[in-house]
């Protein structure tokens, strides 16, 4: 079930990325997204990943990966050295997401960022009616062991981009198998019904 849902996100990301481009996947995990991009789109992929076991899995798959921390080690990638930089569901886990985003926009000509949407209705319900920090499929951890330090909603990231003068090219909302384009006009409703938000910015 989980892998199916993951694949949906990857498919959306892959659709945003043109064939034969150069892509850096920050926090690439075991390399499933990189593998997908490489095989489906002939994209030249590179990964950055902290976890040693994940790094090993990427290497076994023949995927180039650098073991390191995106928070502190993005400086090693030169300006505009990639067509796209992908950051899948990790923005909220950084100490300084603003700095990370700035770096991603420096490295890539464009950036794809996906976030678990804290504005999703089930998340809101949990907090509103139960008075507890939400635990859902996309946010599986409890408050004391979650890696997520800076949860935000799709609307928050919209606002952030406007305030920082970051160009929003496209936003896709994902709910289970359904995807939809998010614009200013439908932002309120999509912010309520999307589990994930996938932003193409830069």
């Amino acid at each position: 079930m989980k892998s199916l849902k993951m694949k949906k996100e990857f498919k959306v990301i892959a659709e945003l990325l043109p064939n034969n481009t150069r892509v850096l996947d920050v926090g690439c995990g075991d390399g499933s997204l990189m593998n997908f991009l490489k095989k489906e789109k002939n994209i030249e992929v590179r990964g950055l990943e902290l976890n040693q076991e994940n790094v090993q899995q990427c290497i076994h798959k023949g995927l180039p990966v650098i073991q390191g921390n995106a928070e502190t080690e993005l400086h090693q990638f030169p300006d505009q050295s990639f067509d796209y930089v992908v950051l899948s569901q990790t923005l909220q886990a950084f100490y300084n997401p603003e700095e990370v985003l700035k770096n991603l926009l420096r490295i890539g000509k464009a950036v794809v960022v996906s976030i678990p949407n804290f504005g999703y209705w089930k998340v809101r319900m949990k907090l509103l009616f139960f008075g507890e920090m939400p635990v859902t499929k996309t946010l599986p951890n409890t408050w004391y062991n979650t890696p997520n330090l800076h949860m935000c909603t799709i609307k928050d990231l919209f606002k952030f981009c406007y305030e920082k003068n970051i160009n929003i090219k496209q936003v896709v909302g994902v709910n289970e198998d359904k995807t939809s384009l998010i614009k200013k006009s439908n932002l309120e409703i999509k912010n309520l019904f999307s589990k994930l938000g996938i932003f193409l910015i830069g």
Binding site: Q52, Q56, C58, I59, K61, G62, V65, I66, Q76
Partner: protein
């Protein structure tokens, strides 16, 4: 126990029987001198396949030699990288053709300071030209030519072997499909130069050394050489690893002897390592090889620095460092990764978490060996496909 002179004779006789090529092409050394018609000793493991796409070149470290695995026929001991190379191992000799050459300046059959100087028919000693990592690598490239290998599947090496590898990739950018520099540096640090100087001073302070002229007297400055080796052995371990291995344990005794004998296990270990080493290594070779390491600074060779050194690389790199290695630190290895990245090269990097220090690359370190195997096997698939296209 044979006399030292007898031992030398016996070792030299054995060395006569090892694989060698004579490199006739003159090699202009960095120091300005030229050598020609010189021997390069090497060993191979496994079989080169018909497509010649399964060759892996291993560069050895300071005190290594060409006998990577199996039994070293000269010392009758296990090859230095038996943990990683052999049938069914990470670098599987059932599948790959592994080549390793003794570096020039060494003492296992390749031209070195204990060989005879044709000018005066005396052993070279300090008349041997000062060599560099680049000189070593150029000599080994001739071996590939001799073996008919146009492009290696992979080249790898740890420590000084990794330094040779970086030089090899910079000097011959199209000779290796993939490369694995392990626990090394692109320029020798002040600390490492200092440790090498300690080793050299230990040798030169031994009166037997006699300005390097000991060879003609069939003796060896074994006290100095043993101390040089002890310095090395300390630097290959980590503080924590050493504490765990030895602690304050005493060597086969219940209490202190109140003497300067080896009371502690760690002392006994160092003495053993030091004096075992003199039986297989030449003191002048240590001087020459450590000097080559100290002179190594890849960024200095290129105007644009290290990034320029790696420009136009098609080689796929995997850099590996060990968390407790204080000789060739993670930071130094990461600097290589950063330069490779900046030059647009295809580079992977992994830091293996271990307490075993610099020595880790020679030990049975499962995470390291898994990474090595995963990379080489996946590179082989890619290389085969690329060749087919």
């Amino acid at each position: 126990m044979p006399s030292l002179a007898g031992l030398f004779f016996w070792m030299n006789r054995k060395i006569e029987n090892i694989n060698k090529i004579t490199i006739t092409k003159p090699l202009k050394l960095d120091c300005g001198k030229t050598i020609k018609n010189f021997p390069l000793a090497y060993e191979t493991y496994g079989k080169l396949n018909e497509n010649k796409d399964n060759a892996i070149l291993v560069f050895h470290a300071l005190t290594g030699d060409q006998f990577v695995t199996g039994t070293n026929p000269v010392t009758n001991k296990e090859g230095w990288w038996v943990t990683a190379v052999g049938p069914g191992k990470a670098i599987d000799t059932d599948k790959y053709f592994v080549i390793c050459a003794n570096v020039i300046g060494g003492c296992m059959g390749s031209l070195g300071p204990k060989d005879t100087n044709p000018v005066n028919n005396q052993p070279y000693g300090l008349d041997f030209p000062v060599i560099t990592i680049k000189d070593m690598v150029k000599a080994q490239e001739s071996l590939l030519e001799h073996l008919g290998i146009k492009k290696l599947l992979c080249a790898t090496g740890g420590s000084m072997g990794g330094m040779q590898l970086l030089q090899f990739c910079a000097t011959f950018p199209d000779k290796a499909f993939s490369a694995i520099p392990i626990a090394c540096s692109s320029s020798h640090s002040a600390q490492n130069i200092a440790l090498n100087e300690l080793a050299r001073q230990a040798i030169m302070a031994d009166p037997v050394w006699d300005n390097g002229k000991y060879v003609s007297k069939n003796v060896q400055p074994k006290n100095g050489l043993a101390v040089a080796r002890m310095v090395g052995h300390i630097s290959y371990l980590s503080e924590k690893g050493m504490q765990e291995k030895f602690g304050r344990k005493l060597q086969e005794k219940a209490d202190y002897e109140f003497s300067f004998n080896a009371d502690f296990q760690v002392e006994s270990y160092l003495r053993h390592q030091g004096y075992a080493f003199v039986e297989r290594f030449d003191a002048n070779s240590i001087l020459y090889i450590t000097r080559a390491m100290d002179y190594f600074d890849l960024s200095k060779q290129y105007k644009g620095g290290l990034v320029e050194a790696f420009k136009n690389q098609d080689t796929k790199f995997l850099v590996i460092s060990f968390s407790s290695d204080w000789l060739y630190t993670t930071k130094e290895n990461k600097d290589i990764v950063i330069a490779l990245n900046a030059s647009g090269a295809d580079v992977s990097y992994s830091e293996i978490v271990t307490d075993k220090g610099h020595d880790s690359f020679l030990l049975n370190e499962p995470e390291f060996l898994k990474t090595l195997k995963g990379f080489i096997d996946s590179m082989y698939e890619k290389f085969k496909n690329e060749k087919r296209i």
